[in-house]
Amino acid sequence: MSTTTLERPDAAAAPKPEQAEKLVIFAWSGDLDRVWPALILATTGAAMGKETTVLFTFWGLFPLVRDEVRITGENWMQKMLSMMNRGGTDHLKLSRMNFAGAGSAMMKHLAREHHLASPHELLDLAREMGVRLVPCQMTMDLLGLGREDLIEGLDQPAGATTALAEAQGAITLFI
């Protein structure tokens, strides 16, 4: 057995170097292998006591679509887009080696074996932990996604100004 006593209990009272108190993630991708780490970082940020915001834009919006919603959009182009790119955390695909879904299925299988929380679970956890999940209004309009197509517990849809204002003095990640 190895045990190390790491520091005096009062060591933490010493002044720490300046740290960002906020974490802002721009979730641009709808790929499983990007959404996953984005949500891992968001929940970890919240666990580290950082005020955490995730702004979902472009392809990143599709994981926020309710899993049971099949077709979104108002016109044929938006509907076609949703047919080819089904939304919801249960339908995410790998950016590489997807092999018509076989790769994603294998990845999810491996993740279960390693007791890794799924994107779905991480999204629930993020909401519970008070992570602000902000859908980008402009992308919602562009892709034909209504508030009713998206999961509960999201912040009011906002734009680039809100995102950049939030990002001031924060750690920012574009994923």
């Binding site: 057995m1 190895s2 006593t5 790491l6 209990p9 933490a12 970890t44 007791h115 956890l125 932990m129």
Partner: protein, 81 residues
């Protein structure tokens, strides 16, 4: 006065970031000075618990390993009442 361990968490078998997330949540329930003990098997948790401690200011008072199980003891920051 030596503080005793108030809460013990069994997070064996769970992967990043769940051990940290669960510990952070449990830590919220503690009063300053109280200790929490965590068991985990994710080897990444060794640097991660140290980093979480440095970043949040809650001292990691013990970090050990026995038969592949890591044990961490953290103290809730703040002044004991």
């Amino acid at each position: 006065m030596e503080a005793t361990i108030t809460t013990s968490l069994d997070l064996k078998g769970l992967s990043c970031p769940i051990p940290i997330v669960r510990t952070a949540r449990a830590m919220k329930e503690l009063a300053p000075g109280q200790l929490i003990e965590v068991f985990a098997t994710d080897p990444g948790s060794v640097p991660d618990f140290a980093a979480w401690s440095r970043s949040t200011g809650n001292p990691l008072v013990e970090s050990g390993e026995q038969a592949g199980v890591f044990r961490f003891v953290l103290r809730k920051k703040g002044v004991m009442r």
